[in-house]
Symmetry: C2
């Protein structure tokens, strides 16, 4: 007779663990408990089900209980809540939520995959009708019903992260006017603020109102049956529907009550094979702490991809084939109103928070494909790399097309320990519709290499320190808008006119996006000037200026 | 006074070299000679200019001579042909094609970037009107004029490679019926034949006639003013317009006449810094031999990306900052009628040709994104990896969406020496519209790892060697089409019925694409059967069968 393996939680991590374990051990008895009505459902699809982009609820169930039984001989017990773990006797206490009865189930191995719960702060009015989170199929069914029954005209989405923005788009898609309330002064908290700014502009252009830098204080009933979302600053945002998407909290109560240690961030502590402090208990998914591959810090990263991989690894460990989890680099993507927003690895603010100072950043705004082919759309790309080793640390990108491709390539580069020199030399797909002879990934690497090699010192809008601004765009571009205090000498006239420039100050050179600034900087350096190129040019200036990071 | 650097050829490699050199050395005198009317034009855009997708000829000029002069102080002399190099005196003889005059120009450094010429075999009728190659802007202007003046109804494209297929699409876009004549029995020679088969089906579905496995013999005038393309087998293909796209030959005459050594493949031999045997002469682009990073063999790879990088490296070498070229991995992409076809690294046939036997391959057919989100399109993916080290050697992919993204990620993996374990653990962008919790790249890696770890031995349709075929699809799928000799035991019944299966033969298991076959194989192995999973399932079978590689 094989091992008896019980799995608590049947979504990404738990379902992956169960299926992988069956493939490794035909003799094991595998039982999955989930307190919800569905195991193995597509969490990430819920906003699109609310938005009626996914129209068929059945599509959200990745694998039914019948399929688990027929294909894998795995028993899924939905509507069963695990109440307690007795690690000495190796049993769990399980409540059948339909029958209301409790019983004990013995295990040889136990896997905790409880996930995370939406944060629902205990604020006044939080239990008023019309306030929803989006975590389960029943959640999304309730929101759909609310929309269909009440035809809400306006909604407030609290929280401007991935799920908040997906909800904003999907509610807008249902004809609802949406306001996003976000405590930080930016949307998309994983991004650096000036990159988030590009997303914010796009949201506003699509009719989403943003209320940034203000926290949630309470909810009140409003005249006419609606709600008012009251903010910390005292603003009252009217809403017929409120979505709470202010993050999730790992479901650690069961593990904590069982005496299993939690980590610094409050997630279940596990070793590299996803085993807890108890050799018979593993934990995976949104409830555990994992190592950030870049900073080495412990993190809680509620993402489906890592949860799936952790589930597989727990199964391999249970089957005696343990391999270490390599950690997370927090690659993520979101689509909003046709814009793609993606990131991988460390952000600038994340590095600063982690006390890392030896890094540099590059901004660029290349086309998604060759400019001579019709329809090239720009990508806003920020690359972060170590100094002086050039190791790629992170990247953020925003644009209409070809965005997640570049982030995926850089994600693989980060995984493999690549430097910016490797990005510069990458051999990527090029045909006019798909890329360029110098792909945006190449360009990002080339700029960084030029900086590291001292060929093109980079200057930054947020650290100008008394430099003389030199705008090398053509006079008409300069006239249409420039930074206060800049001198204008177009690149095309620079060889004739460079003697006009001051030699006693550093020249901070800029153009529209950085390319002409680069050419000018190279020229000036060779003529003995102290010159540096303002990364990302006027385009980056405007984004930084909007978020208060360009002091000029 | 700085160095005098002369560059022969002003397209990708030569233009990149000139621009990079100026940035490194303001004092150099840089002169570029090109015998054509334009330097720095977008070669890769020419088919789309013929197809009127790119409508403005000026778009094809990436950087004009004026821009080179104004921005870079680089002199471009178009319509100037370099006739000879005197390496002892360090001069070149240049003919002004407009004036008809010759003169000598002295150099300190000489860069040869002559490119490659379309192969134009000396066959009967080759000089008849209406037969065109597509290499320069004037070529494409001539074809456009022919189309506008003659309104051809039918065209023959000779050669089914990248440019041939792009021309087929663009001529079809102009309303012309197209036949592709290709000597090999497949289109897209860089691909393995069963992958090319997917492309061939798509071309036929879009009305392109394919005449494969037959060579070009001659051209004849046909009644009514058209042409007949006569094949080696004696077929006569009527054509009002013929495009020759049967490859290119490096333009090495100048280098050869100057006594510079050529390599085994007939390209100009260079060292890692792109320097020829003469320390004052460099060569870059389509005319040089470069090292294949996977096989170590010398190759001629006429691609824009490597040409650009080589041009930069030659400039760095001339400026005394030489770095080695890392070689090529032949990443390429083409779009045809909405289908994307991309590859990177080694093909199976390429490895066999190079005498490499220690590799294995995986076929898979995943969706481009999560199946629960509407519109997921399948990708046909073939991954090739070393055995037993698991090093990623190459990949080929075909599909409507998300194809070049996966090839770019794998290209970066190959560049960094990744193994299939790294692919399995890659953390890539996932949101429902963009990918899946297990991205196709992850899946390819996981399948390969399972094979390497002995968890799922792979079987191949072209090497069945007496195995018993076991079809584990449902009975209705089996009834709709299966491989002769297969037993049908659906996966859902396998645990009840496995005793029916023979124990004295290897079981070669298949389903539609490989996933259920994997589950069944794992079960059977654990029950003591000798079982292996047919990679790619019935989908791959059909592609192999079409090209005669599945012997059943």
């Amino acid at each position: 007779m094989g091992k008896r393996v019980l799995i608590v939680g049947g979504v990404a991590g738990g379902a992956s663990c169960a299926a992988r374990l069956r493939r490794l051990d035909e003799s094991a008895e595998i039982v999955v408990f989930d307190r919800g009505p569905y195991a193995s459902f597509a969490n990430c699809g819920l906003p699109y089900f609310v938005g009626d982009v996914i129209t068929d609820q059945k599509k959200l169930v990745v694998a039914s209980s019948e399929l688990f039984r027929d294909r894998f001989d795995i028993e899924i017990r939905t509507r069963h809540e695990v109440l307690a773990v007795d690690r000495v006797r190796r049993t769990i206490r399980v409540r059948d939520l339909e029958a209301g009865t409790d019983r004990d189930e013995a295990y040889d191995a136990l896997v905790l995959s409880p996930g995370a719960a939406p944060i629902r702060p205990p604020l006044p009015g939080i239990d008023l009708p019309g306030i929803f989170a989006v975590r389960t199929i029943p959640d999304s069914v309730r929101i759909r019903k609310w929309i269909e029954d009440r035809a809400p005209k306006q909604a407030v989405v609290v929280g401007g992260g991935f799920i908040g923005l997906e909800m904003a788009e999907n509610l807008a898609h249902r004809g609802i006017a949406v306001t996003v309330l976000e405590k930080l002064p930016q949307v998309m908290p994983p991004l650096d603020p000036e990159v988030g700014q590009v997303v914010a502009e796009h949201l506003r252009a699509h009719g989403v109102a943003l209320h940034l830098g203000d926290g949630l204080a309470s909810f009140a009933s409003a005249d006419g049956g609606g709600l008012a979302v009251v903010t910390e600053s005292g603003a009252r945002l009217p809403a017929d529907l409120v979505i709470l998407s202010i993050g999730v909290r790992p479901e650690t109560q069961l593990a904590h009550d069982a005496g299993l240690p939690l980590g610094q961030r409050g997630g279940i502590a596990v070793d590299a094979e996803m085993r807890t402090a108890d050799p018979h208990v593993w934990a995976v998914g949104d409830a555990v702490e994992v190592r950030d591959v870049l900073t080495g810090q412990e993190l809680i990263v509620p993402l489906a991809g890592p949860a799936n991989r952790q589930g597989r690894l727990a199964a391999e460990s249970i089957a005696g084939r343990g391999r270490p989890f390599r950690g997370v680099q927090a690659t993520a993507v979101v689509g909003v109103f046709g814009l793609t927003v993606a990131c991988t690895g460390a952000s600038e603010k994340g590095l600063r928070r982690a006390g890392v100072a030896a890094f540099e950043r590059v901004y660029l705004h290349p086309g998604q494909h060759a400019g001579y082919y019709p329809g090239a759309k720009p990508i806003q790309l920020k690359l972060i790399f170590g100094v002086p080793d050039g190791r790629v640390l992170g990247a953020q990108a925003v644009g209409l097309e070809g965005v997640e491709k570049r982030i995926d390539v850089i994600a693989m580069a980060i995984q493999m320990g690549a430097t910016v020199r490797d990005l510069a030399e990458a051999e990527l797909c090029y045909a006019p519709q798909f890329g360029a002879a110098k792909d945006p990934v190449n360009l990002a690497g080339m700029i960084a290499v030029n900086h590291l090699d001292g060929l093109m010192p980079l200057a930054y809008w947020d650290a100008l320190a008394g430099a003389q601004l030199l705008d090398v765009r053509e006079p008409d571009e300069f006239a249409a808008g420039h930074v206060a205090g800049a001198i204008n000498v177009p690149l095309s006239q620079l060889r004739a006119r460079f003697a006009e420039l001051p030699r006693d100050r550093r020249l901070a050179v800029y153009c529209a996006a950085g390319q002409r600034g680069y050419y000018a900087t190279r020229f000036l350096l060779q003529k003995g000037y102290d010159a540096a190129n303002l990364s990302g040019g006027y385009t980056t200036y405007r984004a930084l200026h909007e978020v208060g990071l360009a002091p000029v």
